[in-house]
Symmetry: C2
Subunit: 219 residues, 2 copies
């Protein structure tokens, strides 16, 4: 079975809205996809007919097992392409969303498995979101960029946004590696630099740029 770009976009939108726990409504989907509730209703019927959605009119809807599977493959494609764009084609993590939004609809399964292999099976995309594996499994905990982590709490560095020698150089010098445990002492609004502290060491300061390429999980 294969699906149109529009169908895939609806499935993905519903998937993301469902993640936030609360009940998803026709209007929610309309807002997210910048369309009208009437258009959403039309599409819900089509998605139901294709068994992607459980839907009773006037009584809400949610993804079927099939719909969930499809959503995960689309999310997988999106995040793998984002990873490729940032790590291989030197895009910034904030420039890649729209391009990945198009690339995620390329249909070849083999393509995406080869890409995954080429990228050495990354587990998180450049925004820190987990990448589902071939079977749709993914880590539950979202990584966050260090720059977005809350002040005062201990965090563990679990990924870096690039493998460039320049970055590794800097990290070596600052004594930061995957697994390092640190906390944010203070954030400076002037230049968005951040003062951090490693266990039993005096605090020191890192740039906004660096704070954007370090991903951490709460410790």
């Amino acid at each position: 079975m294969s699906y149109t770009v529009s169908e895939e976009n609806y499935i993905k939108a519903i998937f993301h809205l469902q993640q936030h726990g609360n009940m998803v409504t026709t209007t929610d989907v309309a807002v997210r996809l910048q369309t009208r509730p009437a258009s959403v209703t039309d599409m819900l019927k089509k998605l139901k007919a294709k068994d992607l959605l459980l839907y009773e009119r006037y009584h809400g809807f949610k993804l079927s097992t099939l719909g969930n599977q499809l959503a995960l493959t689309i999310v997988r494609k999106h995040r793998l392409w984002e990873y490729f764009l940032v790590n291989n084609l030197r895009f910034g993590w904030n420039e890649v969303h729209d391009i990945a939004e198009e690339l995620e609809h390329i249909t070849s399964d083999l393509l995406i498995e080869r890409l995954d292999e080429y990228l050495l099976h990354p587990r998180f995309d450049p925004h820190g979101d987990p990448i589902p594996d071939v079977n749709g499994k993914m880590e539950k905990v979202k990584q966050v960029m260090l720059s977005e982590f809350e002040t005062g709490c201990w965090a563990k560095v679990c990924a870096v946004g690039s493998q460039s020698s320049e970055l590794l150089d800097l990290l070596g010098h600052k004594n930061i590696a995957i697994g390092t445990i640190l906390k944010i002492v203070q954030k400076f609004h002037f230049d968005h630099s951040i003062e951090i502290q490693l266990r039993d060491q005096p605090p020191f300061s890192i740039s906004q740029q660096l704070a954007h390429t370090l991903f951490v999980k709460p410790q």
Copy 2:
């Protein structure tokens, strides 16, 4: 200005049909795109309205300068993606056409320039077809795979289909490099192996696989 996938497909089809010198007809396009002449006429009118085509009803048509430019950017995208698929994702040169057919419609210009840079500005795709540069310029002479070159004529090796160490190993052993001049002595149908001869040397035999990754131009 941006164009639909369908418009781009028509422009590309007309471009390729024009390359063969002869006049392009409505029916030609219909055959190539697996559609009906009536549908082609409809689209011709739209393309004319967008200044991509010079068209007088009942009297034929051809790409405008703008149409030609557009065609070249699409061809550029197609061939760069094919190169990527073969050289980076380990696809065979005969598996990539359909995937590239989808990828060529991704809209970001920056993406394609970054890809070109990442691939180190390749000049020929895996089928030996030249890749237009950013300005639409490309080599005129098509390379052909050695396996398709005619017996008895001298040819110059001008590209190889992959950069794998396995291939370079084999080529080193057989004393073949870019620039080597050789001719086909005989083709064997049983295993599609090919007997070739380098200048002033005894002939020797190479496999079909190798003959598929060597690109030559008439010498």
